[in-house]
Amino acid sequence: VSPAGPGVARLSALLASRQTSSRELAEDFLRREARERSRLHAFVVVDADDVLAQADAADAERQRGSTRGPLHGILVGIKDIVDVRGYPTRNGSPLYGHTPADADAEVVVRLRRSGAIIAGKTTTHELACGVVSAPARNPHDPTRVPGGSSGGSAVAVATGLVPIAIGSDTGGSIRIPAALCGTAGLKPTFGIVPTTGALALSPSLDHLGPLGATVADCAVALDVLAGTATRDHVGGSVDGLRVGILTHAPIGPVEPAVAEAFACGVELLRGLGIVCVDVTVPELTHVIAAEFGIIPHEAAAVHARALRERPADIDAPIRTLAAAGLLLPARVHRRALAARDAIGAAIHRAMDHAGVATLATPTLPATAATLEHPYHTIDGTTEHIGLAYVRTTAAFNLSGQPALTVPCGSDPHGLPIGFQIVARRGDDGVALRIGAALEAGLGGSDGLGGTLGAHRDHDERTGAA
């Protein structure tokens, strides 16, 4: 299961060879977004006039013989917690009105500088705090959640509306929807992508990053967002690299289909010459206590005024979480930060001991739950998805390590499964290199391996093979 649309490399080649134009891509986007809006709700705001004006400007620049950067003329979605000049930032919440932002967030500045066309604002779970992202729906089965909180970004990429969308990740909010919708998604190393101009949830843990049709799309987006050169790593040899396989609690237990897909992914890596060894980090059993010891105090600081003046306009679970930050003693936050440091140190000690450059885990213990029953029962234990999905991802928000999810098969219902690759801080390129090798091994690296079919009408119209 892979995204339904072409990746950046393919689209850029079509643009460079004049087989299509940014105007054509924009019109195609607008037509398909309008068609799917009432069913999947990937976007909350699309301004057709603005999209077409940006596309025409990109085409005009190209006709003059210049391109701004690696995303010239490519449509990119922006999660609706990130400011885009002239668009309201509503954060999925009635707390925020329709006043347009008067400046772009720094990530949007960088995207525009690279030539990207801002396609619109994607649906977010309220205040970037949750895994449902209503009213967005999972494109593989609209009775199921797309994940969150960057759910709209995942739907936009999975359906081929855009090859890249920006998300945020405090406990898994890029990787969770990416895995549930069948896209690639990268939570970069903490701090390398600026968060200026984006709504905070918990600044000690917040990351911005890309969801992409391919791993290469995540790499090119990261290079634009962070000024790195990770795309040079994609396609590089992985022979002889060592990967630590991490499956014990709280990563496990996982659903049988997830375990099977993950085992197949590990075997594929072994077939590429990667040495896979088991790794154990007992300290990970404290991940949930640390994560949910940090978030309340920081979310309370962000939303203190709304908690006092408009609490009824905050969804109950988020209100309860943030209010706890105003009521609990500060030592709870201080101890959770100490636990975060201890967990990060333990992960790096274990990686050193095993001599591994990366870790691999199932991205999530289960596939997409239904909206009607947002729970999973695994090995006789029933968990709400708000905890189940986070127990495999949050450790790497605490450690600040780059963590990539790559589509890796599907369950018997055809729902996507993700494979998570985690590198050392600053080694985002290593995670991307291994992820690209896995993706290529699974036949998905051209961004056209999808089952959703949206690429077909695009290819028919552009004449692409």
């Binding site: 404290h286 206590a289 010891g293 609490p311 209010a323 009521l327 636990a339 967990i343």
Partner: protein, 52 residues
């Protein structure tokens, strides 16, 4: 064992924090805070007991 937070204490905490809207239910808040303090206490095994 969770630290005991009676609803009356939760009501005082809410008032002190300026959370006076009736949407805040002291009984529910007390239960939530007890669970969170229990989670905090579980960190003793990782970082030691708090002296404060």
């Amino acid at each position: 064992v969770a630290e005991s937070i009676p609803p009356a204490r939760a009501a005082l905490l809410l008032a002190d924090a300026g959370l006076v809207d009736p949407v805040y239910d002291p009984d529910a808040v007390a239960r939530d805070l007890e669970a969170r303090l229990d989670l905090d206490r579980s960190l003793d095994a990782l970082i030691g007991a708090d002296d404060a």
